[in-house]
């Protein structure tokens, strides 16, 4: 097996690992039992004045008789602002936001860069000199370059500062395991190689587009074209596969913590799917061992709930 084939296989494996790890984690979390309500206000989908001060439907007399008002726009607004601008961090830890925001925004731009490179690999033919590109193609290349430059500047600066902060902050010293340092160093190494490629090897992304095209067309014999680019492909692949295996999977886990816990105020209506789930879950056996629970492994939650305590 030659190097090009190996590189392609590694890239495919990385992407598949990423997808599989995200899918596995997503499924694992989504298939957990329905939990008790544990919301915190403000809840983003509230409407009108309530959305401003953090009120809820529970402020209304006979709330269960009122039509349930939820604002998808408010929820989307809060979600999108949080995703893009890390609003919670901006509000509660401004010092960290100054470095965390560039890092995350830089990563978003680098993901966008990947999208632009895929688009470019489809739209721009191989081996065409920049001078012969059409207006649209030239614009696409320009956009790709700007995105790459901005993404790399922000992500590198952010990662470097986050690393420095982790290493020097008294506050974080005891809360920074070796893996946290490794993660940031991993990012920085990937960015350093990406910089080297961008500056010295593949400024116009000709090789990158060719490699992506070969990935999309399963033409495994196309080489990376330069050892530094091959190194970048290997490292980026490993990073992509690694992220969802760690706590950095919070990039999608946040959807659960916000939408399924902190903002989950869905009431239990008679004969609803919620009630059905509760009725299923109270059949789970209980094995807690404290004497007052009086569990024997056969009794379920419904049995235990209805049982009198010892006199």
């Amino acid at each position: 097996m030659n190097g090009a084939v190996l590189l392609h296989l590694l890239t495919y494996t990385s992407v598949l690992t990423f997808v599989a790890a995200v899918a596995f984690r997503f499924y694992r979390i989504a298939s957990m039992p329905l939990h008790l309500r544990w919301e915190i206000y403000p809840v983003a989908h509230e409407t009108g004045e309530k959305a401003r001060y953090g009120g809820s439907v529970l402020e209304e007399v006979d709330w269960w008789t009122k039509p349930r008002r939820k604002s998808l726009i408010n929820e989307l607004k809060a979600t999108i602002l949080e995703m893009i601008f890390l609003v919670a961090l901006f509000r509660h830890n401004r010092k960290l936001w100054y470095w965390s925001f560039p890092f995350h925004f830089g990563l978003y731009l680098l993901v966008l860069l990947l999208g632009l490179l895929i688009l470019g690999s489809i739209r721009i033919g191989p081996g065409i000199p920049v001078i012969q590109l059409s207006g649209l193609e030239f614009f696409l290349l320009f956009l790709t370059k700007i995105t790459a430059l901005l993404g790399l500047v922000l992500a590198t600066l952010g990662a470097a500062e986050l690393l420095l902060w982790r290493l020097t902050s008294e506050e974080l010293r005891d809360y920074t395991p070796p893996a946290a340092i490794f993660n940031l160093l991993f990012f920085l190494v990937v960015f350093a190689v990406a910089w080297a490629n961008f500056l010295f090897v593949d400024s116009d992304f000709v090789l990158s587009r060719a490699y992506i095209r070969s990935l999309l067309t399963f033409n495994l014999s196309v080489p990376a074209g330069h050892p530094l680019l091959a190194l970048e492909i290997v490292l980026t692949g490993l990073l992509i596969a690694y992220i969802p295996l760690t706590h950095m999977s919070h990039f999608f886990i946040k959807w659960f913590t916000y939408h399924k816990i902190l903002w989950d105020d869905e009431p239990n209506i008679p004969n609803s799917s919620i009630e059905k789930k509760i009725l299923e879950q109270v059949q789970y056996p209980v094995t807690w061992a404290a004497p007052h629970i009086k569990a024997d492994g056969k009794k379920n939650w419904a049995d235990i709930a209805g049982e009198e305590i010892d006199p």
């Binding site: 913590t257 105020d265 009630e275």
Partner: protein
């Protein structure tokens, strides 16, 4: 203040892990009597006997009495039971109620420490590392990855940090799970949605449900007593009825409005359930409720159920430490309403009961037991603005501020009804800073308000309650003169208990003219049809 406590130190047998020096605590606002250290009560040290008998190496106090092991076998037994409970805490069958939020919080913290600044206990301890909301979570996280997850101990240590598991770790962790008010202000600030308050709650559950370790005030004198006799106050229905009869008579005398509290009225619209502590400690609370509901022509009743159902004490301390106890009590509350065939349950001025029965029990009560539950705040708001009762706000012409109970406000979103009432009936109402969903806990949350063993009250007053004390002083900073009567409205029984203790501890009335009470007393105090002076000031 000893700072720099490391997470792994928790398992290292040593002297006391952290020390609180009153001199290092943040000062109260200037120009208050508490500028002068002589006005701040001294912190009573633990007795030598307490230190000898119980685990006392966490900090300067004891919340639970964990006896010291006599043999190596006893130590190992504690570790074995802990590991067994840890496994159950993360199992679908034993912890379906909180499994998803727990796993998300344990596995996805970025350890950025953003949440620590939101914690009143951390801030008011002079930023003692032991009281970071992340400290106990980090201990649990490391134990979880070390003992429950595959990957090898070396890899997990590299990934999450080191921790020893021994008797010392567990005994200190048990105590540490009771250094958090479960106010969840930290969770409100986390960008990822990690909930360190939940982790403290889950640890308490592990210790109670698996190891039978819980504060006696919450379990034996709380949930168990309530399930045995009907109320954690020890009142049986006969005593409760006697007390209410007396309250009715006394209230009628004070207001000039005859009232008669209805008991066990089948088919009433509303079953009102108080925190029974109010009936004993603050009879003016029920007196005011009865006066208002009667004046508004509401169809309501109390319930005297005490065995198959629980009708006259709405407390549910299980919420703070034990799901099984919480569920047992919630189900019995619902049964009391079902028996009387009422249209809804209205929760009196008790924050944790609001949350336990309205939102937490929402996914427990099914079928006929899923009877609508509503806050007294909304009902009172409806009554006050219905025009059925005439008010003279000039009767409440004194400075009033509002404490927002965490369970009612941050955790249920009931924010405005109570303040609209205050704006309507109290011309000199002013907010604390911050307030609403950004409020601070009174320091008595999660059951602390009724916990005072050894010198725990000193910890509760000097650290947990310090932020609220500071907020109260700030709210009235323009009127420091103790001859100006001032009122802290706290529409929650536990919060009132904590503010009462703060008041007694710091002599708030004598030094600052600050009194406290509920919302209903202010409403009746402003009722035109009532004789003036329902509100009684101390002294």
């Amino acid at each position: 203040m000893k700072k720099g406590v490391k997470v792994e130190d928790i398992g290292k047998p040593s002297g006391q892990l952290a020390h609180v020096d009153v001199q290092d605590l943040p000062p109260f606002i200037s120009a208050s009597p508490y500028d002068n250290p002589a006005n701040v009560p001294p912190w009573k040290p633990l007795t030598d006997r307490a230190k000898q008998e119980y685990e006392a190496t966490l900090d300067d106090t004891i919340a639970l009495n964990i006896p010291k092991p006599k043999t190596r076998e006893e130590e190992q037994e504690l570790v074995r039971r802990f590991l067994s409970g840890l496994e159950k805490l993360f199992s679908r069958e034993n912890n379906w109620a909180f499994l998803q939020p727990l796993i998300l919080s344990v596995e996805h913290c970025a350890r950025c420490q953003t949440c620590i600044e939101s914690c009143h206990i951390y801030e008011m301890s002079g930023r003692n590392d032991l009281y970071r909301p992340t400290f106990r979570s980090e201990v649990l996280r490391r134990l979880y990855f070390k003992y429950l997850k595959p990957g090898g101990r070396f890899f997990r240590k590299w990934q999450h940090g080191d921790i020893d598991l021994n008797w010392t770790t567990i005994a200190r962790l048990i105590e540490l799970s009771y250094r958090c008010n479960l106010c969840r202000r930290c969770a409100q600030t986390c960008a990822i949605g990690v909930d360190n308050g939940l982790i403290a709650h889950e640890l308490r559950k592990l210790f109670s449900q698996e190891m039978g370790i819980h504060p006696k005030e919450l379990h034996t004198k709380g949930s168990v007593l309530q399930l045995r006799v009907g109320s954690s106050t020890g009142m049986n229905p006969v005593v409760a009825k006697d007390n209410i009869e007396f309250i009715d008579e006394d209230t009628a005398e004070r207001t000039g409005i005859p009232i008669e509290t209805p008991w066990d009225k089948e088919g009433a619209d509303i079953l009102l359930i108080h925190n029974a502590g109010e009936i004993l400690a603050r009879p003016e609370d029920h007196g005011a409720f009865a006066t208002i509901l009667q004046a508004a022509g509401i169809s309501w009743t109390l319930s005297s159920e005490s065995q198959e159902a629980l009708g006259y004490d709405v407390i549910n301390y299980g919420l703070f430490y034990d799901d099984v106890m919480m569920i047992k009590v919630a189900v019995k509350h619902a049964k009391a309403a079902a028996k009387l065939k009422v249209k809804k349950i209205v929760l009196g001025e008790c924050g944790h009961a609001h949350k336990a029965l309205t939102t937490i029990a929402d996914r427990i009560l099914t079928g006929d037991l899923n009877i609508p539950r509503e806050s007294a705040m909304t009902l009172l708001h409806d009554i006050v603005f219905s025009g059925k009762i005439a008010f003279d706000p000039s009767r409440n012409d004194f400075p009033v501020t509002l404490h927002d109970p965490c369970n009612l406000v941050r955790l249920m979103g009931i924010v405005e009804p109570q303040r609209r009432i205050l704006r309507h009936t109290c011309p000199r109402f002013r907010e604390m800073t911050p307030h609403g969903v950004d409020n601070y806990c009174c320091g008595g949350g999660s059951g602390f308000a009724i916990m005072s063993s050894h010198n725990f009250e000193d910890w509760r007053m000097q650290i947990a309650g310090r932020k609220k004390m500071d907020q109260i002083l700030n709210a009235f900073k323009e009127e420091p003169d103790p001859s100006i009567k001032k009122y802290v409205c706290a529409p929650c029984s536990n919060c009132k208990g904590q503010i009462r203790d703060l008041s007694n501890y710091y002599h708030l009335w004598e030094k600052c003219g600050i009194h406290f009470g509920g919302l209903v007393e202010l409403i009746v105090n402003a009722m035109k049809d009532a004789k003036p002076g329902y509100l009684e000031w101390p002294g």
